[in-house]
């Protein structure tokens, strides 16, 4: 299959007063047309920076993409000018963010904001754009679209604003949608509505989606493939079944065991991941997860693990000579 997106060896830094934050440290992944790829990991591991890099929205200064390439539809986005990127954003790549209010203009009506994109990218006239906007509101389940379109962002609830964002992201029929924590700020019943909506749209339009979240539950029901990030690196990848049912990295295992599951039996203790998330000012010459890992061997503190199992997992436990660990058995 022809891949839609190929992120190669991407590196991103931020120069801060405290020093250089290496937020993304050489990550590599692909997204195929119509595929949902989830990026998971704890706060600060580099999920949003990865998304912002694809959109070329890294604030500079302090940020800078220092290496790699981002091939979208056969072209390297890192070679594009800002003008060329403007033709891509909101057109062939759509975006949905955690907090829609930072992306919606509070002083413009929703209609103005949706139709602007359509007129710019699709050269529609005012009426055509308005008709399309009404259609889009129907698609994302906003009742009385004609009335709602004339309103301002603050007149919508959180869930409704997220629907507006989705409508805007879909307006130009993008090939790729990047959704950065699209439901984190929402209540569970509203989250369920939005996730159902995203799933339906994917089935209908074959849009590829990069779904960023820290909630492995959300991922289980949505994603085809999962990328697990830790300290700016991808530490495990695989199909959703592989990663959630047979994790090969102790960090993935830790994420799965440290969050209570609704269907868990009563009285089971949670297994925390000890210690704190790593400091990204540091350079890592060995596995960055070592200080928090229950399974660390001496090699783990000495050498950076390569990828094992066909580029699937970055952990020494998967070396043929490493002892078999119990968590792999326990999951399946």
């Amino acid at each position: 299959m022809e891949q839609l997106l190929h992120v190669k060896n991407l590196e991103v830094e931020f120069r801060t007063y405290a020093g250089v934050v290496k937020a993304v440290r050489g990550i590599e992944f692909q997204v195929n047309p119509g595929e949902v790829v989830a990026i998971v990991g704890e706060s600060g591991c580099g999920k949003s920076v990865t998304a912002q890099s694809i959109m070329r929205l890294i604030p500079s200064p302090p940020g800078r993409i220092t290496g790699g390439s981002i091939i979208f539809d056969g072209e390297n986005l890192l070679n594009k000018t800002e003008r060329q990127m403007q033709k891509i954003r909101g057109n062939t790549i759509g975006m949905i963010f955690q907090d829609p209010m930072t992306y919606l203009n509070p002083v413009l009506t929703i209609a103005t904001q949706i139709t602007e994109n359509l007129r710019l990218h699709k050269r529609m006239n005012k009426e055509q754009a308005m008709r399309r906007a009404v259609e889009l509101f129907g698609l994302v389940g906003i009742p009385e679209p004609e009335i709602r379109l004339k309103q301002y962002p603050h007149q919508f609830s959180g869930g409704m604003r997220q629907r507006v964002m989705i409508a805007m992201a879909l307006a130009c029929e993008p090939k790729l949608i990047i959704a950065d924590e699209p439901t984190t700020a929402l209540d569970v019943t509203v989250q369920a509505q939005i996730l159902e909506l995203i799933k339906g749209l994917k089935d209908r339009f074959q849009t590829a989606i990069i779904l960023i979240t820290h909630d492995l539950g959300v991922v289980a029901g949505q994603a085809d493939r999962i990328l697990v990030m830790y300290a700016g690196q991808i530490v495990e990848t695989g199909t959703t079944d592989e990663v959630l049912k047979k994790p090969s990295h102790p960090y993935t295992w830790g994420l799965l065991k440290s969050v209570p599951r609704l269907d868990a039996v009563k009285g089971k203790k949670l297994t925390p991941i000890w210690g704190q998330p790593p400091d990204l000012l540091q350079d890592f010459t060995s596995c960055p997860f070592v200080p928090r890992c229950d399974y660390a061997m001496s090699i783990c503190a000495q050498q950076m693990p390569p990828f094992f199992n066909g580029n699937k997992v970055r952990c020494w436990l998967n070396h043929p000579q490493a002892p078999k660990v119990k968590f792999k058995k326990e999951v399946s």
């Binding site: 706060s43 289980a220 029901g221 969050v259 704190q276």
Partner: protein, 329 residues
């Protein structure tokens, strides 16, 4: 829990209401009231954990704040160890303030940035036990820091030097400082990182065992609440709609809202997710200023009956401590 009904519950909350006045328009005559808590009744036994769940804005924090006396009830009452808080003597009230503590929703906003961690934890001791000498207080602070998994050296640092999880521990140490019996934990882990949440939850469970604490745990995360609670109360728009032992809530939810809520919680297992049938509710939470007639849930309910629009369902006990307020049940 499971204690004989003859024993007075440590906390009784009866028909509690808390309304806030809304300044709708400058020249408006009619007063508008936001009904944050609208008739809530529950009890907690010593050593028990009651979880309070519900979606944003349903009134959970307001219940917690009213319980520990930060808000005056608009109607109804709260009794601590059998004594109505509104009727207690001044000295007794001070004692109650000490015995009931709250851990706040936001560990970033609730710690004074200009105070050292030692002073933050020592402050309630200074207020409630002014006669304790400095040396003794310093020892107590060290002991508390140890108890919540921090170092004594941390006492001289400031809150901004700590991560979210560590700040939550500081908040917990502060609440424990005056040897409380009841702690209201408002979203104890929602502001900390996923990987850190289990540390805090396990710690709360261990402290409860060690110190025989009673918890009212407020959260919107049903999985977490189910894990930590003996019983769970589900709130919707200022009212409790269902209350039951936590395992039973999961196995046998009766209120349509509880069912929808449970069905919406994602589970990190692709096999489970593929087979699940979601109950999708339509629309959003109605405004607590203008709640719907009859049953507050009827505007979003998928099992609505004509009676639901007219008459508020009473809370009924169905035996084995399962309470539910629904015309359908």
């Amino acid at each position: 829990m499971g204690s004989s009904s003859a024993q007075t519950p440590i906390l009784q909350v009866n028909k509690l209401k808390k309304y806030f006045r809304q300044d709708s328009s400058m020249f408006g005559r009619s007063e508008r009231w936001l009904k944050a808590v609208d008739g809530v009744t529950f009890t907690i036994q010593t050593g028990e954990t009651l979880g309070l769940v519900g979606e944003s804005g349903c009134g959970k924090t307001t219940v917690g704040r009213t319980v520990i006396g930060l808000y005056q009830p608009t109607a109804g009452w709260v009794a601590y160890k059998g004594i109505n808080l509104a009727r207690v003597t001044a000295s007794r009230r001070l004692k109650n303030r000490r015995q009931m503590q709250m851990i706040f929703q936001d560990p970033y906003a609730s710690l004074n940035p200009r105070m050292t961690v030692g002073d933050i934890i020592g402050e309630p001791i200074a207020i409630h036990q002014p006669r304790i000498r400095n040396k003794e207080r310093a020892d107590r602070i060290n002991e508390l820091l140890n108890m919540v998994g921090l170092n004594p050296e941390h006492a001289n640092r400031y809150p901004h030097e700590f991560s979210g999880g560590q700040r939550q521990r500081i908040g917990i140490a502060r609440a424990l400082a005056v040897e409380p019996e009841l702690i209201v934990c408002d979203e104890p882990v929602s502001a900390v990182d996923v990987s850190i949440q289990a540390q805090i939850i396990n710690m709360l469970e261990e402290l409860q065992e060690k110190l025989n604490l009673t918890y009212l745990i407020i959260a919107h995360d049903l999985s977490m609440v189910k894990h930590i609670s003996d019983r769970v109360a589900v709130m919707y728009l200022g009212k409790i709609v269902e209350m039951v032992e936590s395992e039973e809530l999961y196995n046998n939810p009766l209120h349509p809202y509880t069912r929808a809520l449970l069905s919406a919680v994602p589970i990190a297992d692709p096999d489970v997710e593929r087979q699940r049938k979601r109950i999708l509710l339509e629309g959003d939470l109605p405004s607590p200023v203008n709640p719907p007639s009859g049953c507050y849930f009827h505007t979003r309910c998928y099992r609505v009956l004509p009676v639901c629009r007219q008459q508020e369902p009473a809370m009924r006990e169905l035996g084995n401590g399962h309470y539910v307020a629904c015309h359908n049940v």
